[in-house]
């Protein structure tokens, strides 16, 4: 506390002396040419105002006023180099300068306090937003992890309780179920891991320019490794585009959207995945030809909401966490993501800013 006061004091002193010095210099020059003491007083009024504006508290302003009044009296008014307070109209200048400085200091102090308050409130709001995001994520995670785990534990128990009496095809069915659920869990964990790449403080990512087609092709290859039977029509712009991004994260977004299209469209028809440059952003479109998204879910689909109403049944393929993570990732890239319905099927679009073309690459 004391140290801050000391710093404040020195800062005030430096600013005050500096501004008054400049004012004195300016008035000396001005007076040398015009001999007009009223204008000189105005220069000091201006100086006092600036002092009051750029210092903290009332004292510097008042000190500057006193200094100004004395100097104007001493140097620039007849009799020169003499103090004479009986001069006509002098009290008016003195009082005027005092009032100006007092009001300016009061206003600036108030203004500073207000902006500080605003900053604090904004920070609180941002914290709250981050908190909601985290809470949504956790909720989605615990929901999406519990379901497949329950099923894995259940299936293994079923097998261990009666391995002899179980027909062979039943065993295969059980193991396939375990495999499917474990794959799902693995995907979930990879999703979670990607989120750790987003910096905690400012919710941003470290981007570097990546060739668009390489990211797209790697994402699709990884997707096909998991779901070999899925059909995807891919199209990228003819020209070579470098897009600033964290490639691992964007691949995850692409994979999540493609998987959703497979699991939720309710159709075996191919998925269209195409990328286009639109002004200074690139837009990634993932289109399916299935049953589309229920209109009431369109607005909240990225918030991890809406998973409670289908919490039963095959909800381990719920969209909860995947889309929440997509939104987090895209927001960290300063891009946008949205969902909409086509004539036939749903479409997810996300954009990434192209940024300025930098010569140095990084």
């Amino acid at each position: 506390m004391k140290q801050i006061d000391k710093r404040k004091f020195w800062k005030n002193l430096v600013v005050t002396v500096g501004i008054l010095g400049i004012a004195t210099l300016a008035s000396l020059l001005y007076f040398h040419f015009s001999k007009n003491s009223t204008s000189v007083a105005m220069i000091y009024v201006l100086g006092v105002m600036l002092v009051a504006r750029y210092t903290i508290g009332y004292i510097p302003g008042i000190a500057a006023t006193v200094y100004g009044v004395f100097v104007v009296n001493y140097v620039y008014t007849y009799p020169y180099m003499n103090i004479n307070f009986t001069l006509d109209g002098y009290p008016v200048i003195f009082v005027g300068m005092l009032v100006v400085s007092a009001i300016t200091s009061a206003l600036t102090t108030k203004f500073k306090k207000q902006s500080q308050m605003l900053n604090e409130r904004e920070k609180l709001l941002m914290d709250a937003e981050k908190e909601t995001m985290r809470a949504n994520l956790l909720r989605a995670v615990s929901h999406d992890l519990r379901t497949p785990l329950t099923s894995i534990i259940g299936l293994t128990n079923a097998y261990l309780e009666a391995p002899e009496s179980m027909p062979e095809e039943k065993k295969i069915e059980i193991v396939s179920g375990i495999r499917e659920d474990s794959n799902w869990l693995l995907n979930m964990v990879e999703n979670l891991l990607t989120v750790t790449r987003i910096r905690v403080g400012d919710a941003r990512v470290n981007t570097s320019p990546e060739p668009l087609e390489e990211v797209v092709s790697e994402a699709v290859i990884r997707f096909k490794k998991r779901l070999p039977q899925a059909k995807v029509n891919i199209r990228v712009p003819e020209e070579f585009l470098m897009v600033p991004m964290d490639a691992v994260l964007i691949e995850q977004v692409i994979i999540n959207l493609l998987e959703n299209a497979v699991y939720h469209s309710g159709t075996q028809d191919g998925i269209d995945f195409f990328v286009e440059q639109e002004g200074n952003v690139v837009a990634f479109h993932v289109r399916d030809h299935g049953k589309g998204i229920a209109p009431e879910r369109l607005n909240t689909i990225f918030d991890g909401a809406g998973m409670d109403d289908n919490a039963s049944g095959d909800s381990h393929k719920g969209m909860g966490i995947g889309l929440t993570i997509c939104k987090t990732i895209i927001a960290a890239h300063r891009g946008t993501i949205q969902a909409r319905n086509q004539k036939q099927g749903a479409e997810f679009i996300f954009t990434l800013p192209l940024g300025e073309v930098k010569q140095d690459g990084e």
Partner: protein, 231 residues
């Protein structure tokens, strides 16, 4: 095959180790298991395996140290087993002399393909004279003697740099080559470490060789690491 080839598995995770061992043994290799780095090193010196599968996250010593120590006395092919999020470690391991890497989770097909590729390249290294004169895969042919590249019988015109790139990848087909390695091979040891120029050249090659640059068939990207050509 006269004698079965031995594969040393250095992996601390019991289940993953079992899994790899099962795959390896059922494909006519002999398997050795080590559950930490020191044990791995001593098995490596005493048994001279034909290939090593090395997990980077070991309980006693850093996997990278194990790799460095193996490389100080042996050229045995080493394949790194890594998690997906460790790009930096992967690149470092490759630049430290690892032959290839495989990312968890992997399937048996993928693992066996990597093992075969690494073994083949180590055989090639040991007798340089018999190096292949041609790369030929699914319509794409590269004749290293005539410096001729043909796709489905038609000649493809590549620039000097592009040809060097393609032939470098083709001679190491199936193996991932890091950006740094390629830059040094093509542009010399004083090349800029910025890989932009490499990626632009690759994009041009892709436009000449691939039907759809977004769905490459011959040259694959491993983002953050490098490129791999179809074997």
């Amino acid at each position: 095959m006269a004698s079965r080839q031995t594969i040393l598995i250095i992996e601390d995770e019991k289940n993953i180790g079992n899994y790899i061992e099962t795959i390896v043994i059922s494909n006519q290799y002999k398997a050795l298991r080590a559950k930490n780095g020191m044990e791995g090193l001593s098995l490596c010196t005493s048994h001279h395996p034909d290939l090593i599968l090395l997990d980077l996250g070991l309980p006693d010593v850093d996997g990278m140290d194990v790799l460095k120590r193996i490389r100080s006395f042996s050229h045995v092919p080493v394949i790194i087993i890594s998690a997906r999020t460790q790009e930096r470690e992967k690149v470092e391991a490759l630049d430290q002399g690892a032959d290839d890497y495989i990312t968890k989770p992997f399937g048996s097909e993928e693992l066996l393909a990597r093992i075969r590729t690494a073994m083949r390249h180590s055989v090639q290294l040991s007798n340089l004279m018999t190096q292949e004169q041609k790369y030929s895969k699914a319509g794409l042919e590269i004749d290293f003697d005539k410096r001729l590249v043909t796709l489905e019988g038609k000649e493809i015109h590549l620039t000097q740099i592009e040809y060097k790139l393609v032939s470098l990848l083709a001679k190491n087909a199936g193996k991932v080559l890091t950006y740094d390695f390629i830059l040094k091979e093509i542009w010399g040891p004083f090349a800029d470490t910025d890989n932009q120029i490499l990626r632009v050249n690759m994009a041009n090659i892709r436009r000449k060789l691939e039907k759809n640059p977004a769905e490459p068939f011959y040259i694959f990207t491993e983002i953050g690491v490098g490129y791999r050509m179809k074997e």
